[in-house]
């Protein structure tokens, strides 16, 4: 206590140094690199201005990665949020009658969240295997033709989206369940006294508006996570076939660490980062606006 500055330094120094060194410095560096043509291992680099961004947004390949990511998000966000809500509503009402079964089902739905995604992707690969997999076997038993789930350019992105939904539903369900249990029971009583008869009316009068903040949160978290899709792409398709499943983070990895184009990969990083910041800005704006009801 005789030298408070030393105490402070001891307490705060290591963490502050780590945050500066491993978060703020790299962010600054990435923003600089994005305007250069630096190649990993090259002795020098030149300033190229917006060229990297022009290449990303202007080339077919760059746009392809962005569009794939958006298509993937456009499927996974509504499906996993919608299914998460439906499952949560079902389990919430089941919990009052059959609490054990509800708990068991909740465990099952959450399992993919806790599991190692790469290992599960390998299992999915086996499940979707054209000849040895269960899915095509069952499809042909139903008289339907099997698909090349991971090698057909027209299907592969949807297959990845399906796995993304499979992985995310349980997480969203847990968030919705927390939101549901926070709704005061007296509001349902009030709605009943006010004349709300069926489950449908109760849902639109109380449940849906009261879940507003939760829904916004779930949407933003899901969006942020779908933009980051990487593990399944890297494990199952490596962006292929013919870049049909190339996504923004996978492109970042490929350009930066397979082709060593650090400058171009940094530009991808900056665009990716900007998209996430935009999401956060939307979230803050909407919360300020109305969802908190104040």
């Amino acid at each position: 206590m005789t030298r408070p500055w030393l105490t402070n330094l001891l307490l705060v120094g290591p963490a502050a140094l780590a945050v500066a060194l491993f978060i703020f410095l790299p962010v600054a560096v990435v923003f600089v690199l994005a305007f250069t043509d630096y190649l990993i291992g090259a002795p020098s680099a030149t300033w190229v201005g917006l060229e990297n961004f022009q290449q990303l947004l202007g080339s077919r390949l760059g746009r392809n990665a962005l569009i794939n990511t958006l298509v993937y998000a456009a499927i996974v966000i509504p499906a996993s949020v919608g299914l998460g809500l439906i499952v949560a509503l079902g389990l919430h009402s089941l919990a009052t009658r059959l609490p054990r079964i509800a708990t068991l089902l909740q465990t099952v739905y959450f399992l993919p969240v806790a599991a190692t995604l790469v290992a599960m992707a390998v299992a999915w690969q086996m499940l979707l295997h054209p000849s040895l997999g269960l899915v095509n076997t069952w499809l042909s038993a139903l008289g339907l033709s099997g698909q090349q789930w991971l090698t057909d350019r027209d299907i592969v992105l949807f297959t990845l989206a399906l796995i993304g939904i499979w992985q995310t539903v349980g997480y969203n369900m847990v968030l919705f369940l927390a939101g549901l249990s926070a709704i005061p029971a007296t509001l349902y009583d009030a709605a009943a006294v006010d004349g709300a008869k069926g489950g449908w009316t109760r849902f639109w009068t109380v449940t849906w508006p009261m879940l507003g903040p939760t829904t916004l949160f779930v949407l933003i978290v899901t969006a942020a996570n779908t933009f980051r899709v990487f593990e399944t792409v890297a494990t199952l398709t490596e962006g292929g076939p013919a870049f049909a499943s190339d996504t923004i983070v996978y492109a970042l990895y490929r350009e930066g660490f397979v082709y060593f184009k650090a400058g171009y990969a940094s530009a991808i990083t900056v665009v990716f980062f900007a998209a996430l910041l935009l999401l956060t800005a939307i979230q803050i704006l909407l919360i300020e606006r109305r969802v908190h009801y104040r």
Binding site: P4, F22, L33, G90, V113, A119, V122, A123, R228, A234
Partner: protein, 272 residues
Amino acid sequence: MTPARLLSLGLLSLGAAMVLLPFVWMVSVSLKPHAEIFTTDVRLLPRSFTLQNYWHALTETAIPRYLMNGAIVTGGILALQLLVTVPCAYALAHRTFPGRQVLFGSVVAALLVPFHVTAIPIFLGLAWVGWLNTYTALILPFIATAFGLFLLRQAFAQIPGELVDAARVDGMSEMGIAWRIAFPLGLPTVIAFSIFSVTAHWNDLFWPLIATTDSALATPPRGILFFRDEESGDDVGPLMAGATLITAPLILGFLLAQKRFTQGLASTGLKR
């Protein structure tokens, strides 16, 4: 039970079965003998069980090595994260010092930065000092955890200031207060953060794929890909056994401490 309730229970169970399918299939294939996997008569459950695939995965592949690497890397990351984060979070919550506001503001700002954004410069930095392809490369970048700092600061701020003052009056050092007062009182949050940290880094593929090329250093997800790419489709049984083995630790942890796990992953939802 009304028909509507029965229908909803039926649909929920059907959904759960679909969620479970990849798990069932993974375990099922891992228990099938080689000949049964490679037939045209594909079935969900094995007709005859064998543990041969697990024996193969444990004795003739590097799976045990990957599991050990996973333990070293996640353990190392968590230990170092706590070591630097706990004192700093305590100071942010219960001490005034010049720059505290700036530091806390920086932590909140850093929350917005996903690891992917910092990967290229960190890779370049580690290459420059020659630390690529080491455990250090896998562990060091994650010591800085804005998320941990934020979460623990919020938890420590709940501890009454009078309690901290009482400890000071009793002659405890500041570092002592951080570890012997704040740490145990904030334990639920520490555990939630630990579950989040271990899960995130055990499952991470992005950074191990970048920072290491040496298969002796591979963490479980990286390792299972090495394994898959080597055996090139002939050893599906051991591959599924390996996948089961590397998923098992977290799944078991989840099943044993479900509430904490769910809370740990859900309350930390800001950042996943």
